[in-house]
């Protein structure tokens, strides 16, 4: 019996030893790398009342001195970007011209961009191509740096709406250079939809149960609100980003009812592309980037801005507060604002350039693309798109009964998903 007990001890010791070893292995492997997903925070709803719009807020970095002249490049440029925004066709020429090597970090959502800028301490990255819903959060957090627009001559040719837009310019101080804008479109497999859908209602239709995909992003609540604005007038929604509590709850309820129909909340554009290709989904909400990528792969994909209009984005290359390579960053801002590069990005990605002189260059790259992406008539087109902005507790009419963004995130994670 004595021998036996000792044996059992050995068994356990071996088992425990291996277990400890295997734990290390597993810890290493799961720590390797993971694709970015969207989603967001939660549990901060209780402190949401602290956020009373931007009225009492100041930008901590507003008085930092701006660069007066662009010096010699530092050889490197660290950029956080949307997928498709750093295409070799315009990154390569820039690197050759300036000697600034671009190190790209791709983010899948606005929340992730805010998070990356903060965790980089504003000193790890130089710039971020964030959208209007993230810009104010980044600059009020003190993670953005004022920009001297006189060093970026091409920005003078921007359409008036993007000269000093409120989402990246506060009290006349610019924190980045406007880039491009575009709609979130309804995508569909043309083999399954022989007649093109003209309304967002297909995404709420149980006929397509298990074949729908939408972004994993709290700002999706605005898409539901936009749909309700046009289909349920009794709610009185006027701006999908400024929702009172009942309007907000109606939008959240619509999305909660949509969840059983969803196959996958996509986090990365590449996920949505492969899901369409594999036939996992046949209809969904996405960006023109996915459409142009699928078209390039000869996939039968169609896209439309439905009758209800669409949400959209207006992106800015924001300068980080402690950008380690400011000269290269200014060279990038100068380069990316020129009509030729604006046209290249607009045609490749499928969006609308901010530079009014880009139109002829677009047509040169792809005949008819200027009209296709409405680069010649943005004022009228712009009206049909509700551009992303950070939902604030203070509505535009000065009342403080709007639902702030923190509650959007909480609702997305606990009521929708």
């Amino acid at each position: 019996m004595q021998i036996f007990t000792r044996r059992r001890t050995a068994v356990s010791a071996v088992a425990a030893g291996f277990a400890a070893l295997s734990f290390t292995v597993a810890a290493c492997s799961s720590g390797s790398s993971a694709p970015a997903a969207s989603g967001g925070t939660a549990g901060s709803g209780s402190s949401a009342s602290q956020q009373a719009g931007t009225a009492g807020l100041t930008v901590p970095t507003a008085n930092l001195p701006v660069l007066q002249s662009v010096g010699k490049g530092e050889g490197q440029l660290n950029l956080i970007a949307w997928e498709g925004y750093l295409d070799p066709s315009w990154v390569k020429p820039f690197e050759q011209q300036t000697g600034c090597t671009i190190n790209a970090k791709y983010a899948g959502s606005s929340d992730e961009m805010v998070s990356l800028m903060k965790n980089g301490g504003g000193g790890q990255y130089d710039m971020v191509s964030s959208s209007g819903d993230a810009d104010l959060r980044i600059l009020y957090a003190g993670d953005a740096h004022p920009v001297n627009m006189s060093l970026i001559p091409a920005a003078k040719d921007f359409f008036p709406a993007f000269q000093a837009p409120s989402f990246n310019t506060v009290n006349g101080v610019h924190y980045g250079v406007s880039l491009q804008w575009g709609p979130n479109v309804l995508m569909y497999n043309t083999k399954d939809f022989t007649t093109a859908p003209t309304t967002w209602s297909v995404l709420y239709n149980s006929k397509y149960k298990g074949q729908i995909t939408v972004p994993d992003n709290p700002i999706q609540i605005a898409d539901a609100a936009l749909y309700l604005e046009k289909t349920k007038a009794s709610l009185g929604i006027t701006d999908p980003y400024e929702l009172t509590q009942p309007q907000f709850q109606a939008a959240v309820a619509l999305l909660a009812g949509q969840k059983p129909l969803i196959k996958k909340y996509w986090a990365l554009a590449s996920e949505e592309i492969s899901d369409f290709q594999n036939g996992n989904v046949i209809v969904g909400a996405g960006w023109p980037y996915q459409v142009s990528t699928l078209k390039a792969a000869k996939f039968p994909i169609g896209s439309t801005v439905p009758a209800e209009g669409a949400t959209g984005w207006a992106d800015t290359w924001m300068l980080a507060a402690k950008a380690p390579h400011p000269n290269c960053a200014y060279m990038w801002m100068q380069y990316i604002s020129t009509p030729q590069v604006q046209a290249k990005q607009a045609v490749t990605y499928g969006e609308t350039p901010d530079n009014a002189k880009a139109c002829p260059y677009m047509d040169k790259l792809q005949a008819g693309s200027c009209a296709e992406y409405h680069a010649n008539a943005p004022a009228s087109y712009l009206a049909s798109i509700s551009l992303w902005k950070t939902p604030l507790a203070t509505c535009d009419n000065g009342q403080t009964n709007c639902v702030p963004y923190a509650d959007w995130v909480t609702a997305w994670n606990t009521q929708v998903k």
Partner: protein, 311 residues
Amino acid sequence: MTSTAGTRPKEQGHNQVIRNGWLLRLSTALWRRPWARASLLLTPPLAWFLLVYVASLVVLLVTAFWTVNPFTSNIEQTWTLSNFQAIFTTPAYLSDIAQTVGMAAAVTVTDAVIAFPFAYFMARVAAPRTRTALFVAILLPLWASYLAKVYSWVLIFTNHGFLDWVVGGLGLGHPQLIYTNVAVYAVFCYLWLPFMIIPVYAALERVPSSLIEASQDLGGRTWRTTRSVLLPLVLPGIVAGSIFTFSLTLGDYITPLLIGGTSANFIGNIIYTNIGIANNVPFAAAMAVVPIVIMGIYLTIARALGAFEAL
């Protein structure tokens, strides 16, 4: 080379004498004082353990009581229980936690059921060559990239994928398993199986054949011998394996992210979205306390079952 060759042995010898004298004195001093020897040996690993493991856990626990500004996402160092309150009063989080524990339990039970006969065959039936081959087969996946393994399961489960091709080819319909929790469960069972097989194998190998023969001599049939002799002796191995299948499932977020669908909300995913995406580190820290507490309860139960008696 030749010019220095003559002087070198002399120098070396000189150094050796000094070093030997120095070392000798040190080793004598250490031999005389066992406590000094012990503290000298233990200080580096202990300092590492305290700094890296314990300190980071303490920081994590402290952070859980802070909060973030919802607008700028800056951390505000004011003490509050609101994170824990949010976890325990939000039905969605409670059901996510329950779903995670259920998944971990299901994966653990499945792996134990698969591992036992497999390990038995390896330990007591297979010839040495077969045993080596089986060992390699079990360990080989551990050398491959986690992501490559998970993505290969995406290819198996996806529409028109391998599974669809086989089952459809047999005329048994078209299983749509991609982006479901069933798929997540299958992949977890596959991923953590080696962590169960090896400890169970180690436990089975140490059971003396004489005990099984004795049981048979006393009239115990296969089932009775397994239940009354084998299982109690192998239980520590099963529990050791279960600790890992359970805790690894409890913390994983990549598989649910890639294989899971709309209801793949597990504890790891909540933590991941709060840190990587939303930068709400305090809430993530509070959420991270949940699996720590669950594992604490799990280990207590395992101990009560006598799993650590022999340790």
